[in-house]
């Protein structure tokens, strides 16, 4: 492939490949796109893809039917998913597929031209497009900027990225803008760091630009460590070039010629696609020396993390790239002054970068027009935010919504509400650094400042829904256990303080809590927040504080009544057989590993509270729903 040195050459690549994505009306071609991010493959997208490939080859249709493995389509619970794009502009989304159904769709739809209504996401009809993902409730409230290529292009083909105006922004920056102009656009756009803390991206770049030095680094935080979050993985697997282009723009803005992407080793697909993308960009001369013939050089390397949550903290991440234990460093000096290998460095998260090229191309006003405006309440948050929606929610998946959308809209409209007729209890946002938002606050408009004001935080985008069956004390304990495990151990407030908080929670969960433990938790939390060295410790008490704030009654029930209202905390539970429902079949008695159940055949049985180990074997065994936890 020839090195691209001009806009004309870039446009030529676009012209040649745009027809692969937006099929010309008279082409008679079909594009079949299979969601093959990690979650798609885990659900069985591999056999679906293989079946399509086999059928296309067998019919000799490889000229007219293009088969693409794309990134995350966003609708996790419908995986495996593939979409059929016709040259008439139609889009049909097939869900929950397997090889057999795929063969049927191939015959009837791809060859025969008639959509198979049984397997589509919505009913197929002449005057509506309900069979397309675009027209579902799940999609209606979304606005895809960060994810605009995810699920659309083949992430392993740079030409498809270029066909969607890729690498035009770096051309514009290098040829029409000075570094100061780039920074001004970023400042005016109001883009704030999507890693969680929400620091204005333009300001970060400005500081690094102002730092004197011959050598500077641009880094990308792709060490997505929050449990329950997979936004960055989706971007890396679905649109890796967006990150590469943005990092090149950032390098130009601050005067750097070298960068690192620090990516989790647990993301093999993302790593592979990044490696392919970096090689392709180098082959086209879009990365490396003398980019677009402007004399600007930028080299990009990958470094793999090794499973340490604290390495998501910026200084810890840099120490890890330096090949050491990933322990955070005191700030100041800030990385913009003294970062990686002791020189000025900027670090942004994957999702932040994924906005950059489009801001450069479409302008700061375009981006700032979305989201919340600065007001007395806060600085405002422009653009969109991607959330990984999970837990007790009908539509799990990846959603991108404009800032300012209410949590209620995200959960009830996009997410389809809590399944199984259960009652919504809380949404956990921001992972181990974040908090729980209760039903009473569900109308909060999502932006950085609003979430902080109600004791939660934006975080990187994990959004886990909990219903009445989840115990909030147990959830708080779960997150604290995570932080205790992941604390690097360097500073005592975090190392010892979180451990002490965990012990207090364990005491409460075991039924030995006293009311003064709540005050102790509160006091310890204050010390840890103010005295910890890095963000991990400073935010570690949040899950405990926010659950005490909104679910104090649950804590009190555990402490005073020695009762777990959600029937989760084992030590506070009792297994009881309902004599009305029990028919005396003896199944539970035979399944009990400790012989705690007694009773005669055809007469109601009873459980001996002293002997019972609360293993739950009897509940699983009972066919009459006679046994319950109380």
């Amino acid at each position: 492939m020839a090195v691209i040195t001009s806009l004309d050459a870039l446009e030529a690549v676009k012209a040649k490949h745009i027809g692969d994505i937006e099929l010309p009306a008279d082409s008679g071609r079909t594009r079949v796109v299979v969601g093959r991010a990690t979650c798609g493959d885990a659900a069985g997208a591999g056999p679906v893809y293989d079946q399509l490939k086999k059928d296309i080859d067998a019919k000799g249709l490889s000229e007219s039917v293009e088969l693409i493995a794309t990134g995350c389509v966003g609708i996790c619970q419908y995986e495996p998913v593939f979409e059929v794009y016709g040259c008439d502009g139609s889009r049909t989304t097939y869900v929950n597929m397997d090889a057999e159904k795929t063969a049927e769709v191939f015959e009837k739809h791809i060859v025969g031209g008639n959509a198979v209504s049984e397997y589509t996401i919505g009913p197929v009809s002449e005057n509506s497009d309900a069979a397309s993902l675009e027209n579902t409730e799940f999609y209606k409230f979304q606005k895809r900027i960060v994810l605009h290529n995810c699920g659309v292009i083949d992430p392993e083909k740079i030409e498809e990225y270029i066909a969607r105006d890729g690498y035009k922004a770096i051309f514009k920056a290098l040829t029409e803008m000075k570094p100061e102009d780039v920074i001004k656009v970023m400042l005016d756009s109001g883009l704030r760091g999507r890693g969680g803390a929400g620091f204005p991206t333009g300001r970060k770049w400005q500081f690094a630009y102002a730092s004197k030095g011959d050598k500077k680094y641009v880094c990308c935080n792709a060490d997505e460590g929050d449990p329950g979050a997979f936004m960055d993985r989706a971007v890396l697997e679905g649109d890796p070039h967006a990150v590469i282009e943005a990092m090149t723009i950032a390098a130009y803005a601050i005067g750097s010629d070298e960068g690192y992407i620090y990516v989790r080793a647990e993301y093999p697909v993302a790593i592979k696609r990044l490696q392919i993308a970096i090689k392709q960009a180098k082959d086209y001369g879009l990365l490396g020396d003398n980019i677009f013939g402007t004399g600007f050089n930028f080299d990009l390397k990958l470094r793999l993390g090794a499973g340490a949550f604290v390495c998501g903290e910026e200084t810890a991440l840099m120490t890890s790239i330096e090949g050491k234990r990933g322990e955070p460093r005191p700030r100041p000096p800030f990385p913009a002054v003294k970062g990686l290998f002791g020189v000025p460095t900027i670090l942004n998260n994957v999702e932040t970068y994924a906005n950059v090229a489009q801001i450069i191309l479409k302008g700061a006003e375009w981006f700032a027009s979305m989201g919340t405006k600065p007001s007395a309440k806060g600085k405002g948050s422009s653009g969109t935010k991607v959330f990984a929606l999970g837990g007790k929610i009908a539509h799990t998946g990846l959603v991108e919504i404009p800032m300012g959308t209410t949590l209620a809209t995200v959960l009830n409209e996009v997410g389809g509400g809590v399944p199984g007729g259960k009652k919504f209890k809380a949404a956990q946002i921001g992972g181990p650094s974040g908090g729980c938002i209760p039903a009473s606050q569900i109308d909060v408009e999502i932006d950085y400042d609003n979430l902080t004001s109600i004791g939660a935080m934006m975080g990187s985008g994990g959004l886990i829904v909990m219903d009445e069956d989840n115990c909030m004390v147990d959830i708080a304990r779960y997150f604290l256990d995570f932080t205790v495990d992941e604390s690097c151990g360097q500073c005592p407030p975090c190392r010892i303080g979180t451990q002490r908080m965990l012990e207090l929670l364990d005491k409460i969960i075991a039924g030995n809590g006293e009311m003064e433990d709540l005050d102790k938790l509160d006091k310890l939390a204050g010390y840890i927040q103010t005295a910890s060295l890095c963000g991990l410790g400073q935010t570690a008490p949040n899950p405990v504080l926010s659950t005490i704030r909104y679910f104090r009654d649950e804590y009190v029930a555990h402490i005073v009544d020695k009762r777990c209202p959600a029937h989760v905390c084992k030590d506070l539970l009792e297994f009881v057989i309902d004599p009305e429902k029990c028919i005396g079949c003896t199944l539970c008695k035979r399944n009990c590993p400790v012989n705690a159940i007694s009773g005669e055949t055809r007469k109601p049985h009873v459980i001996d509270r002293e002997k019972c180990i609360k293993c739950g074997a009897c509940i699983t065994a009972c066919r009459f729903g006679a046994i319950s936890k109380q």
């Binding site: 996790c76 997505e224 449990p227 329950g228 647990e266 090794a306 340490a308 992972g431």
Partner: protein, 165 residues
């Protein structure tokens, strides 16, 4: 999870050692190379026993305590030999709220292996992992790379039976 020391004797070959030496050579002079060296060493041996760390310490002229400090810091580095059959259960939030702790306990009692350990015959190793990002399939169990989604406690014995031969 605390790292458990290995109980399986070292079985490294001369060929593996040759590979390790060429990895160390490849990274000579590159800044911050200890992490990739350890990652590739683990790729060669499957884990990082003391015998391997000694070679790295000697050839990179790095004190052993520095290397051990790095290895014990990151959860991905393994001091323990992986069993022929590796089982991991996701403890991410979505999996946890859908009952992955029950699945983990069930596997542990079924095989008699503690989470984080390898059975002394080297056959099974069991891990509780951080979120693998397949939250839509919660709770998730992975056996030798095969993903089992929406696993129920009662299904564990049936799934494990396939690997008992």
């Amino acid at each position: 999870m605390k790292k458990q020391p290995t109980t399986v004797p070292f079985r490294g070959t001369a060929e593996q050692e040759q590979q390790l030496l060429s990895v160390i050579e490849k990274y000579r002079g590159i800044k911050g190379a200890m992490m990739p060296i350890l990652q590739e060493a683990q790729g060669i041996y499957g884990y990082l026993p003391i015998e391997v760390l000694k070679i790295i310490a000697e050839k990179t002229d790095t004190p052993m305590e520095v290397i051990y400090g790095i290895v014990s810091f990151y959860s991905q580095f393994k001091l323990n030999y992986d069993g022929d059959i590796t089982i991991s259960i996701c403890m991410g939030t979505a999996c946890y709220v859908k009952g992955s702790a029950d699945v983990l306990n069930e596997v542990a009692s079924e095989l008699g292996v503690e989470p984080g350990a390898t059975s002394s015959d080297g056959r099974y190793s069991l891990d509780a992992t951080r979120c693998i990002g397949a939250c839509g399939l919660a709770p998730v169990m992975i056996i030798n790379g095969t993903v089992y989604g929406r696993v129920k406690k009662e299904e564990v014995a049936g799934i494990l039976a396939k690997y008992k031969e």
